[in-house]
């Protein structure tokens, strides 16, 4: 079993962080994982994306070209990657930032107004975690124990005050 994720959006939306949480969760569950960011000038203000692979077997190529799951957090990302998703795959759309609908008919689509949900609940900047929560729930992998361990790895002790917000956002996504 191997799942390839592509997280895509603007720099500053926590795209890389979301991927990292998922990767750490996989690691905690003793899976093989890889996380590969886009890098370079496009990171500043432009699009950001990262490839995450969670697999039972060792990970081969770490670059996700045809994701099983695409997380699109802005319109350019959906435009760019929609056609790359494998048939039968999943596209998660932040519908507070993307007005159009997904054109593909052979994939599962989830519209979640994550950015709006975040700001309505005093969780600005945590739309990424709301989507992560949804993502894990959909895969039947919302495991509080491993999520907690992954959060501890991703959020340094210095920022421990942020833990509770992240938990809340993940839960909100799960319950959406």
């Amino acid at each position: 079993m191997m799942t390839q994720y592509l997280f895509a959006g603007f720099g500053g939306q926590g795209i890389l962080f979301a991927g990292k949480l998922l990767a750490y969760k996989g690691l905690t569950e003793e899976k093989n994982v890889s996380w590969l960011p886009s890098y370079g000038p496009e990171m500043r203000g432009g699009t950001a994306n990262c490839s995450v692979i969670i697999s039972d077997d060792p990970v081969g190529a770490p670059i996700v070209l045809n994701p099983d799951v695409l997380i699109a957090m802005n319109l350019p990302s959906l435009d760019k990657y929609e056609d790359d998703v494998v048939p039968g795959g999943t596209i998660i759309v932040d519908s507070s930032l993307i007005e159009r609908e997904v054109k593909r008919t052979d994939v599962k689509v989830v519209y979640i107004p994550a950015t709006k949900m975040a700001s309505d609940n005093g969780l600005d900047g945590l739309a990424n975690m709301i989507i992560c929560g949804k993502l894990m729930e959909m895969a039947g992998e919302y495991n509080e124990e491993t999520i907690e361990k992954a959060l501890a790895k991703c959020i340094s002790a210095r920022h421990a005050d942020l833990l509770e917000y992240n938990r809340k956002a993940l839960k909100m996504g799960k319950e959406f």
Binding site: L27, V33, S34, W35, P37, Y39, G60, A61, I63
Partner: protein, 353 residues
């Protein structure tokens, strides 16, 4: 099992260097390897080490030359254009028989090129890169774990054979995060009686030098160095074979290309084609033996590279061209897909190329 952490390949190199006892790092900013410098800048002051951002790549490699002369483990890191600048210093390190670790997180070239991953510095790395007859020990990690392990190995081999070692990585392996464990043994550092650390009035002065104006002396120096290289070739060649034993089609690939190639091999096997992979881990010394063995049973070899075809020359030499050797590649920062490789495997299996 020791606790594994998720870490970028570049950071794993830096952490492993510290574990290896390296306390001096000199570098100059260039994408995509800056995480190494950033990690060192943060960690070195905490452990009494030296991190110094040099005024240039040229200065950085010469600072490395200085610390190495004084007998301490030292490293620098850069990416392709920066390695070209270091070429002079690397030649001097080789000429003065000084150990050091140099990391090249390759990016597309030539010239300023791009910042995306590449393997087009293969010739530069394996043929020396600077002027004169010399080699570096060139290690090519294909995972974050290997970034760490080969860094330690690089320091050990460099000290043992008194020659510079290079980690020939690329932007992808440098930037990606994978689980890595730092639970490994590090051999105690060997004595360096040749180092210029001050005579303490107890011995004749040591000289670190690459200048020999007498041609006969310089010839002897070169021949002696190549005798040492021969021992390195005999003892330190490393490679991995993956389903190569019975393969009809053998892929040759290192680093990031080898990972994509492995995915292609798995897919080919699923489709009933006997594909396999030979992954050189040292590209100097180049592993000739597995190719000699492979040509006894395989129909073709495909060199998979992120270059216009550089390692393929070594593959042709090692296989003595007993079977057709072809190239599958992407360049300029592009990476071949498993499908692209699979298509070429199929063509080769049908003998239709």
């Amino acid at each position: 099992m020791a606790d594994k952490v998720l870490m970028k390949g570049n950071e794993a190199i830096a952490e492993a260097a510290i574990i290896a006892g390296c306390r001096h790092y000199f570098g100059y900013p260039i994408t995509p390897q800056t995480e190494i410098a950033a990690y060192m800048a943060k960690q070195m002051p905490k452990i009494g080490g030296t991190f110094l951002q040099a005024e240039s790549e040229i200065a950085a490699i010469n600072m490395v030359y200085g610390v190495s002369s004084a007998g301490k483990r030292v490293m620098t890191s850069s990416s392709s254009p920066g390695i070209s600048l270091k070429g002079e210093g690397i030649s001097y390190l080789a000429g003065a028989d000084l150990p050091a670790l140099i990391v090249n997180a390759q990016r597309g070239g030539p010239g300023l090129g791009g910042i995306q991953p590449s393997q087009s510095d293969y010739f530069q790395a394996t043929r020396g890169g600077g002027h004169g007859d010399y080699h570096l020990i060139v290690l090519t990690p294909a995972s974050v774990q290997e970034m760490a392990e080969l860094t330690i190995k690089g320091f050990e081999l460099a000290d043992k054979y008194r020659m510079p070692a290079m980690i020939l990585a690329d932007g992808t392996i440098g930037q990606m995060m994978e689980p890595v464990s730092f639970d490994f043994e590090v051999a105690p550092q060997i004595e360096k009686p040749w180092a210029t650390t001050g005579t303490k009035m107890e011995r004749k002065h040591n000289i670190v030098n690459s200048l020999y104006l007498d041609p006969a002396t310089l010839e002897v120096k070169n021949i002696e160095r190549y005798e040492r290289y021969k021992i390195v070739e005999e003892n330190e060649t490393m490679y991995e074979e993956y389903m190569a034993d019975d393969a009809d089609i053998v892929l040759a690939a290192f680093g990031i290309a080898a990972r994509v190639a492995k995915s292609a091999v798995n897919e080919a096997r699923k489709q009933g084609i006997k594909a396999g992979l030979i992954r050189p881990i040292t590209v100097w010394p180049f592993p000739k033996a597995p190719f000699k063995k492979a040509v006894e049973h395989c129909k073709a070899i495909i060199s998979v590279e992120l270059s216009m075809g550089q390692m393929i020359e070594d593959v042709k030499l090692a296989s003595e061209m007993k079977v057709p050797v072809t190239l599958t590649s992407r360049v300029g920062g592009m990476i071949p897909t498993p499908n692209q490789i699979l298509e070429d495997i199929k063509k080769a299996a049908e003998g239709g190329r």
